[in-house]
Symmetry: C2
Subunit: 362 residues, 2 copies
Amino acid sequence: MKRREFLRAAGAGLAASAVATPAIAQSMPELKWRLTASWPKSLDTLFGACEDFSKRVAESTDNKFQIQIFAAGEVVPGLQVLDAVQNGTVEMGHTAAYYFWGKDPSFAFATAIPFGLNARQQDAWQLRAGGFELLDPLFADFGCYGIPMGNTCAQMGGWFRKEIKTVADLKGLKFRIGGFAGNVIKRLGVVPQSIAPSDIYPALEKGALDAVEWIGPYDDEKLGFYKVAKYYYYPGWWEGGAHAHLLINRSKWNGLSKSYQSIITAAAREAGVGMTARYDYLNPPAMKRLIAKGTQLRPFSAEILEASFKAANDVYADMGKRNARFKKILDSIMAFHRESYSWWQVCELPFDSFQVRMLRRT
Amino acid sequence: MKRREFLRAAGAGLAASAVATPAIAQSMPELKWRLTASWPKSLDTLFGACEDFSKRVAESTDNKFQIQIFAAGEVVPGLQVLDAVQNGTVEMGHTAAYYFWGKDPSFAFATAIPFGLNARQQDAWQLRAGGFELLDPLFADFGCYGIPMGNTCAQMGGWFRKEIKTVADLKGLKFRIGGFAGNVIKRLGVVPQSIAPSDIYPALEKGALDAVEWIGPYDDEKLGFYKVAKYYYYPGWWEGGAHAHLLINRSKWNGLSKSYQSIITAAAREAGVGMTARYDYLNPPAMKRLIAKGTQLRPFSAEILEASFKAANDVYADMGKRNARFKKILDSIMAFHRESYSWWQVCELPFDSFQVRMLRRT
């Protein structure tokens, strides 16, 4: 109150709109940043999360902090987001960190690992069970600060031109598969391919690929895979809850005021909830449409799932012997995995299972 | 840039720390608000979400917007949060809206209804499928603005002194049960009781109650129910994903600047993710401890689940005939429920089921 009275007195006669305290000027400077995404604009689930985030930051700062969003290829290609943020080409990126497992295999844990955590577990591990703290030094090694921003939820196992029933059917299959999982599936004879989303369809159409996985019904429908591959397999055991990440150039992050850091963190987490909710809202009708267009749903056979499970554990054991950080993070995630699913089987799974049982009756 | 130069010129000779533009003064005034929770401090899951929220708002506003948190009973009792916010006794509250279903049965939809949505579905319905827009006029009728802030996830079915196997075993059972579900379970002969958390244990100990349900292992362990009732049933079919709400006095909300509204919304949603993650992190070890202390896990029998399912649908049909708003929101939630579980059975459920199957093998 006193301060306001003093303000009025001090400000009398001045063009009031043009005066600010240094304290406020420091904490709320005008900033224009750029964010490059790994996704095309058409994927409004993933790209939409970036737009929600940018809008929230602008609204929370009276439009002082503006973040312009670029689709994959506008500034850098979709799989070069980490480099672009690290080099300072842009201040921010939105990507799946597991694309960069070739630089360091521990990047896989930030997104999803085969037979790993589901969406809520991935949140709980990162926010409460030490996951964020384990991943932070990894992002720091690459000049970034990483905040989870959105989960795709359990993904589908992808589109196959032919039915696959046994492990033998996988031999020699050219399969576009995201992230670390290629490592696992090649032990089953698959030839994994890493391709950014906008290049997948042409490769599948030309026959350079036998199968592709991307995310789930809504995004996959937009990319058109159903037109050239009929069999849609489930579940995508290599990404039961894949987290996207907001990456921020670390020195840019460190240069922000505490209030801007706070606004960004809250906005990223909120945009993450919004992205997950968008998937949960948009996938069900998309699945219906795909089935109406002739898509054939197929579950992976027990033989394939169990062989994949064994292959994943073999890869983890090998990688863990060669890389201490990988081993440390793997141990943390797997301890949480065991504990969490012990509880999940008591409460969530029986609830959902009963709901599905009743649904099938009506 | 020009504006800043003008600032320097205009500000010369003034005590700089005491000058602010009206624009900034309007959007970032110093505010001290109070939030009353329906929970005791000891429930650091629910109460913790309020603290996270308040901390985030303070950090995002350079401590200009301070929200003081009060536990149940400090300002008003736990079940009077809606009245306190509506009357302006406090500016904000954190509660489960379904406590107030007696004022209007549609409040049930804001939190959870029997055989309703799971946690992620509840988010998706509220954020994307029109749930927020349907609930907003209801909150407005009670002078509030409501933002979902945290989900308890699927809850347990509660603590029973004796085993219950059949619907006949439920007859005359005095059962503390939260929210709208009492309406359903009384059709099975149960005598439902609505009691705030801190009063439940004494009632159970004295034998004034035969059974209680609260939330899940972590909170229930704190409230000590395992000491007086041995059988712990699952799943809590009346709250498969119960949303807590941040309630804000509506005229206070309307008086806030857009940036403060934005900061509050993001902080509430972020605190919500944090609360859910806390449950997912804390429940598993709590369940282990309870079992070590002699708790006996029991699933509700198919007979009881199916009778409850039928009773719930009967209640919905009756209530829908008498109350147009109830019918309208019910139709929205049930359409989403059907669509969402049609998809859930394809992707999430098979993923989680396989994980649990492998867990049991090792």
